[in-house]
């Protein structure tokens, strides 16, 4: 078990390295002069020259990469020209807001997805199954950014129950209750698609497990149907569900881009969209690396949870 955890931890290193390679390659693929692209078309020629030298663009690609990576490892993600502050500071500040939103959504979609999956599997082909399966398909098909707007119209504009945007009220806000109030709509919106994915997967995993011999054994020894479903079948199905929850972390982190824009949530996603419009490439790069790295860690957690659950996983 400990050996497995250690091996799994070590396996993360090449993935993280590969991730930096991809980001680096994408960024060097910028058509035309990178320094101009970074500084924008209004940059003076002196500035472009200086930046080119500063970025080491006169050196070979591999060497450039290692210099760049070395800087990253020292926490130097460069400076955002549009905000005029270190990229890492800005990204980490924004990232905490994204984590709050994405984490809440992940909890919501896991809870609802799993419950809906179990309910529909338990009542396969019954009307509950049919209705919920359709609801799940609606959830998978609805554009989340549009759903967000509809929810704002309904709950913020018409009913005035919840705030339409932001993380805290401008005046007199700032406490936990205020945060939660602001969190409801974006977190729910963000969780809809992932809920659908998890519900579908849970349903099929449960159906797969319910046909296994050990379920018949449980029934044969007199275990009540409720315990057969939630104790025996669900525990076995969880082995296939957990990695998918890990993958959903990626969808939720990525989907946050839309939701943060719709709800003006001060997270990395909204920052990225603004940075792209302003061609602040270093800021984009920093944001992408931090979010992608956190996704890798989410998946690592999912793997560890799976191995903890399933004693058969040892290799």
């Amino acid at each position: 078990m400990q050996a497995y955890v250690l091996r799994r931890l070590l396996a993360v290193v090449p993935v993280l390295l590969g991730l930096t390679v991809i980001v680096f390659l994408i960024m060097t693929l910028i058509p035309g002069d990178p320094a101009t692209a970074i500084l924008g078309s209004y940059a003076t020629p002196e500035n472009v020259d200086r930046l080119n030298k500063q970025l080491g663009l006169d050196k070979p690609l591999v060497q450039q990469y290692f210099i760049w990576l070395g800087n990253l490892l020292q926490g130097d993600f460069g400076r955002s020209y549009s905000l005029n502050r270190p990229v890492l500071d800005e990204v980490m500040e924004r990232f905490s807001a994204t984590l709050i939103l994405a984490g809440t959504s992940l909890l919501l979609c896991t809870l609802w997805g799993v419950l809906i999956g179990i309910w529909t599997a338990a009542r396969q082909y019954g009307w509950v199954d049919k209705i919920l399966t359709l609801v799940v398909l609606v959830g998978l098909s609805v554009p989340s950014f549009w759903l967000g707007l509809l929810l704002i119209l309904a709950f913020a504009v018409q009913l005035r129950w919840l705030p339409a945007s932001g993380m805290f009220a401008v005046y007199g806000g700032g406490d936990l209750a205020d945060l939660l109030k602001h969190l409801v709509l974006p977190a729910v919106t963000l969780s809809v698609v992932a809920t659908g994915v998890i519900a579908r997967l849970t349903r099929s995993a449960m159906l797969e497990v319910l046909r296994q011999d050990f379920i018949r054994t449980a029934r044969a020894k007199g275990v009540s149907e409720l315990k057969v479903l939630y104790g025996h079948a669900f525990k076995a199905a969880l082995v296939t569900i957990i990695p998918v929850i890990g993958v959903q972390a990626g969808f939720v982190l990525g989907g946050a881009v839309y939701i943060e824009t719709v709800f003006q949530w001060p997270g990395v996603g909204r920052m990225l969209v603004q940075a792209i419009s302003q061609r602040d490439i270093l800021l984009v790069q920093g944001g992408v690396i931090v979010v992608a790295a956190s996704y890798v860690l989410f998946n690592l957690l999912a793997d560890l949870a799976q191995s903890w659950l399933d004693p058969r996983i040892k290799t």
């Binding site: 590969g18 991730l19 390679v21 609606v138 554009p143 881009v257 839309y258 061609r279």
Partner: protein, 628 residues
Amino acid sequence: MRTAGIKPALALLFRNRLAGLGAIVLSLVVAICLMAPLLPVPDPDVTDPANRLLRPLAKGHLLGTDHLGRDLLARLIWGTLLSLAVGISASIIAAVVGSGIGITAGYFGGRTDNFIMRGVDMLMAFPYILLALAIVAVLGPGLLNALYAVAVVNIPFFARNIRGATVSIAHREFVDAARLSGMGDWRIVWHEILPNVLPVIAIAMSTTVGWMILETAGLSFLGLGSQPPQADLGSMLGEGRKLLISAPHASIVPGAMIFVIVMSINLLGDGVRDALDPRLRSGALSRPAPVTRIERTKIANLAPSDHLLSVNGLATHFEVGERVYKAVGGVDLAINPGECLGIIGESGSGKSVTALSLLGLVASPPGVIKAGSVHLNGEDLLAADYETLRVVRGGKVAYIFQDPLATLHPLYTIGVQLAEAIRCHRPLSAQEAHNEAIDLLSRVQIPNAAARSRNYPHEMSGGMRQRVGIAMALANDPELIIADEPTTALDVTVQAQILALLDGLRHERNLALIFITHDFGVVAQMCDQVAVMYAGRIVETGTTTEILSDPAHPYTARLMQCVPELGGGRRTLMSIPGLPPALDDLPTGCAFAERCDRARNDCSEAPLDLAAITKSRSVRCLYPGEAA
């Protein structure tokens, strides 16, 4: 091979009403979009500031106008066309490039495969919207760039799926044959591999095209896709959003359109996938109900017997589509405390289904109990409600199954599984139940019971696992144990130990035991009575000594000849020629007649009864005992 099953697949697709609805809506949308130049709608880009933000149903503007006074209906139609074109192009690009990569990796294998798939895994380590953003960031905002970005981030998905499909056929006979005939690699890929992975590509496309439309619309919504004045649905939504409160229709309408398109694509895609998935067609993905479905048309109304268990006229069918497999076709059994009844027959003879039917454990669907009764201490279990049945299961009647690796839960320790069996029937604390579980383990002669109770099933040997299975059956001191081929999966020495253990327990506790097997050697060692089953019916029953010394039914005689006799060598070991009859097409008369060398014409004419030939023996044969 490829065309086989397309007809039933199409039938299934059209039977799925939702998929049909999706197809209709989608083709309607596409048709309207394609006719856009011919429709009597205003130019989508002509501004009219005087008539800005008209509400829907305004004169001349069915859906109203936007903030520049442009007609929303016209913009919606043109925007839909653009969104569809972009989404579909993206998915074609992703499919072509991804499939190319996947086929290359899967076909060439080895280092090529390794290198490519590592790269693909790397790309998949990104949350993919983020990757699309990074690409757009580099290429700059624009609809074409958004299209590329969405296509690129979907390539890994295709590559992985198509690689899997390719690997599974890259070494099949027809590919090897092509290679031996001197065909070049690329020709093989084009003529042999590609046609066979096309269905997989089609499924992958049908599941992703909706996503890609959503994603490109999303990028446009963020202002990173189509740039004004050109507008797809996403950018219409993005522009409309700024006026959300004063003119909600400007954002609701294009969003609803995206939703309608994606929903109908997904409905259709689900239909396609279901139609192409053979497991759904066979009903193999059905969930077995907690109790076998019971639709009894005939219930033998008998005077209550004083047997511990008596089964009368039990019939269990499997209903798969329009076919009905008569797995058990009217079985009578009776057993008293302390007795051991053997049920013997080939695989498929209905012995296990009979055993599982007793407590409603036959998987349903497809199993249905069609007739008969099962009386335990005078109570009909087939008429009992679920709770009554649950209490009997593992309480008065317990099962031991064949393969304890598959029949024990893989993620619970055996101690926990035993304790659960106990606590299902008795209100003990967790600690008490655990102690009792350890007790049970030592009673079935598992050494170091306390330590072993913390093992998972996969950590034990087959023999040890079957001891756990027996311990579990004993947990609540049952009156009857049904052992369904408990030793079949074990090697011979372990088998002897398990049989000895069961026999000892039976005498010690005055247990009734129903022992299901295909091995006359085991019957001889364990059972007082035997019932021989063939094609779902008992063909001969009597005491073990009588049947062993003088089998009356030709099938019994043949079955006994299948067993090698230790140290004897007087008999030749024989197998039975022919196959058992198909259970969905049983003959009218004797089911064994086809394979029987004693069969005469009248054997196949009318159904045969199980007729008594002595006080303790019955046989279902017109000419019994002649060859014995």
